[in-house]
């Protein structure tokens, strides 16, 4: 199972550290990570992988809490939704 995590918000110290720590706790392996500033917003996209099934509901809840602490929006979505829309 591969999932994409998007982190959007105002840049500050410790975003990458806190988000990746949360991912490690959930045994999610980071395959790719990119970050950029888009319209003055810090935008980070992380591709993660896990052998077993992922409990998206639970992970989303945890990431929402992490996001709230950092003042950011964090989403986790199955990678399929992006490849379905943008790849033939």
């Amino acid at each position: 199972m591969r999932a994409i995590i998007t982190v959007v918000g105002k840049d500050k110290v410790g975003i990458v550290a806190q988000v990746t720590e949360k991912l490690a706790q959930n045994n999610l392996n980071i395959v790719d990570l990119s970050q950029t500033l888009m319209d003055d917003f810090f935008t980070m996209i992380i591709l993660v992988e896990k052998d077993e099934e992922v409990d998206f509901r639970k992970l989303q809840e945890e990431l929402t809490v992490t996001g709230q602490n950092l003042g950011l929006t964090i989403r986790i979505q199955n990678e399929e939704i992006f490849s379905a829309m943008h790849k033939i």
Binding site: I4, I45, R57, R75, I81, A84
Partner: protein, 447 residues
């Protein structure tokens, strides 16, 4: 994966109202037929609650996993007139009640199939079902009903059209929402996932999952980006590309849901279905093309372009296309349509013209409750004629409501607000009471 693409998808969902409008499980009730209505109802309840047990859970799990809202989870069943005909009953209200209970217990938003197909004539169960409609829609919450009265192959059953004028009027008098849950069809389709017209056709598999997509907001936004100077070639191309992306979502959700439910995936219905939310309007797409307000001259042409481009873009995006597939123009569910009616730009006659080139018909239109039943029948007859001659599905969902022309009827939720529209006051009664059948049209010499 390109970051721009990822963010585009997220923006479509969060800002432009991209959603999956419905996943609809079609369930055959043919194996529930019994001459004893109580036994038939028991079997129906058991079959629906076992087959659709996980439908809502799978739907909401997918919403979490993919991060895309699935607005409705629904069920469609075999037309109840077929099940009812085996019984000796004169009233099918018990069927409606058991469908309602099953829908409530599995947690779906609607259940469709309190229906019958009578384009060539009535069998015993048809008439009983039709007469049960006003009470069924008044006494249940989730049940939707439809009657197919016409087809390009058999013509228009004008006896049924006449009877349904009365039935709609009675339903409107008994219940505010009843008529919003009832549709009259020409060329009814067996795999439609949208309400109120969904039923599970007898040609379908035992259980199947159909998906209806949405996304008028996404199409409007894509047209905003190309600006007013772009030619209509580019407009059509842009709609096609956007429709492709929207429909891919439907295909993906359908595939994943059917896998998780262990049920075959039927079709994706490529419809642009508006909601009353600002920015989720089909009317506003037409206005984005350059019309001052929907209803003005040019509206039919703009809608024809939109409807065709949606289909062209969507067809390649999924394995099987079905249902109604096109742009919906329900008045009460579309903020731009409501505004156009209130400002006088859009009237019933122009809407009728628009239905000749798009799905699905005169939809969610309020008319004065004082409108004679024969006039309602005549409105239906006109719409059926458009469908029959053009070999397309058309429908009428019309709501007789208390109040005067221009008053607004609040229907709530996705059903929106319907402004009461003016109907032609001249009588159609003599034409309607003739009854009989309008013959099927000639299928050659098309000019």
């Amino acid at each position: 994966m390109d970051a721009k693409n990822i963010l585009e998808t997220i923006k479509m969902i969060e800002e432009e109202h991209l959603d999956i409008r419905t996943i609809t499980m079609g369930i055959s009730l043919l194996d529930c037929i019994d001459s004893n209505i109580d036994l038939a109802c028991q079997k129906i309840y058991q079959k629906i609650t076992s087959k659709a047990k996980n439908l809502v859970k799978v739907g909401s799990d997918l919403e979490e996993e993919l991060g895309i809202p699935i607005i409705n989870k629904r069920i469609s069943v075999t037309p109840i007139s077929i099940i009812g005909a085996a019984t000796k009953e004169n009233d099918y209200l018990p069927f409606a009640k058991i469908l309602d209970q099953a829908a409530k217990d599995v947690g779906v938003d609607f259940i469709g199939g309190f229906s019958t197909l009578v384009s060539k004539g009535y069998q015993k169960g048809d008439q009983i079902l039709i007469n049960s409609i006003p009470e069924a829609l008044t006494q249940t919450e989730f049940v939707c009903s439809s009657v197919g009265v016409a087809s390009s192959k058999s013509g228009i059953n004008m006896d049924a059209v006449r009877d349904l004028g009365e039935i709609i009027k009675q339903t409107g008098q008994k219940s505010k929402l009843g008529c919003a849950k009832f549709v009259v069809f020409a060329n009814a389709v067996e795999d439609n996932p949208f309400m109120a017209g969904a039923f599970h056709g007898v040609g379908e598999a035992d259980v199947v999952l159909n998906v209806g997509v949405s996304g008028p907001g996404v199409v409007k936004r894509s047209l905003e980006k190309i600006g007013f100077a772009a030619s209509l070639d580019l407009v059509a191309e842009t709609v096609k590309q956007t429709a492709f992306k929207i429909t891919r979502m439907g295909q993906l959700v359908g595939q994943m849901a059917s896998q998780k439910l262990g049920v075959p995936f039927g079709i994706v219905d490529l419809s642009l279905a508006p909601t009353p939310a600002i920015g989720d309007s089909v009317a506003q797409i037409l206005e984005e093309m350059g019309l001052e307000q929907v209803g003005t001259h040019g509206t039919t042409a703009a809608l024809a372009l939109l409807n065709d481009a949606v289909k062209k873009g969507g067809v390649m995006a999924c394995n099987h296309v079905g249902g109604l597939s096109g742009a919906f123009i329900p008045v009460s569910e579309d903020a731009g349509m409501i505004e156009a009616v209130l400002s006088g730009s859009l009237n019933l006659e122009k809407l009728e013209a628009m239905t000749a080139i798009c799905s699905v018909g005169l939809d969610m239109i309020a008319i004065p409750i004082t409108t004679p039943a024969a006039t309602i029948s005549a409105i239906i007859a006109d719409e059926m004629a458009i469908g029959v001659i053009n070999q397309k599905t058309t429908a009428v969902r019309i709501i007789p409501a208390p109040g005067k022309v221009g008053d607004e009827v609040e229907l709530g939720g996705l059903l929106g607000t319907a402004p009461i529209m003016k109907v032609n006051p001249r009588s159609s009664t003599t034409f309607i009471i003739r009854g009989g059948r309008i013959p099927a049209p000639l299928h050659s010499f098309k000019n």
